[in-house]
Homo-oligomer: 119 residues x 2
Amino acid sequence: MRIGELARCTGVSERSLRYYEQEGLLSARRTPGGHREYTEAAVARVRRIQELYAAGLCSSKIAKLLPCMRDSDGRPSRTADECLVSELTVERARIDRMIRDLQRSRALLDTVIEAASQG
Amino acid sequence: MRIGELARCTGVSERSLRYYEQEGLLSARRTPGGHREYTEAAVARVRRIQELYAAGLCSSKIAKLLPCMRDSDGRPSRTADECLVSELTVERARIDRMIRDLQRSRALLDTVIEAASQG
DNA sequence: CTTGAATCTGACACTGACGTCAACTTTTAC
DNA sequence: GTAAAAGTTGACGTCAGTGTCAGATTCAAG
């Protein structure tokens, strides 16, 4: 699978896919001519990367985290070391705060929307 | 209350407070010399602004939304019009998706953290 | 009146994921 | 073999909120 197809079937731009490779999040075999060749597993991986970006993790954190996660076609290739675990624990706390904040903001929007539909 | 005090007691930088004013999110009376004078209500307002920023709304959305919310010292000065309601509904849907995504990512982190503490 | 702390405006820098364009090469289709 | 389509690298631009610095002004205290 080449980059165009992967882009189409994940909805992620080619630019982003090359960026992911540059950041060490995604790898690809190369054709003799230098074109990227992706496996089917890349689709799930790209989706997962997007998910983690959306959760506010930066490239370097994702790069360290990915090898510790069970992939669609394999067991995790690594276990998180002590340092990574402490980083991830911090991220998890941040995510928890973020969820709480989003729920509050959602409630605020609800109030305004409801007030408009009533009044 | 001047800008330094407001910054200290909200934890938001003076730079950001001036930016909020520039974006129409926060207003202040001025002393004869031009220094900003904030009321007590500004503290709650700044916290609310930060909350909405954290929920991913941009300045212009927040600017339109704020007058429709009940403030600590007052009833909403406006009701959202049809256009704003539809924008807010879109934002609410985005927030809902974001919460779901965060919960998924949180679960992923949990799995990795737990695997490390077990194995 | 003077001094120092606080504030003012305006401009430029940064971050990080990604858009976009240029110039070139590889692959694909006929 | 040739043209079109797809891919390559590299560089620079964007956005939005904020950091930071410079130079000028105002405020509070002695």
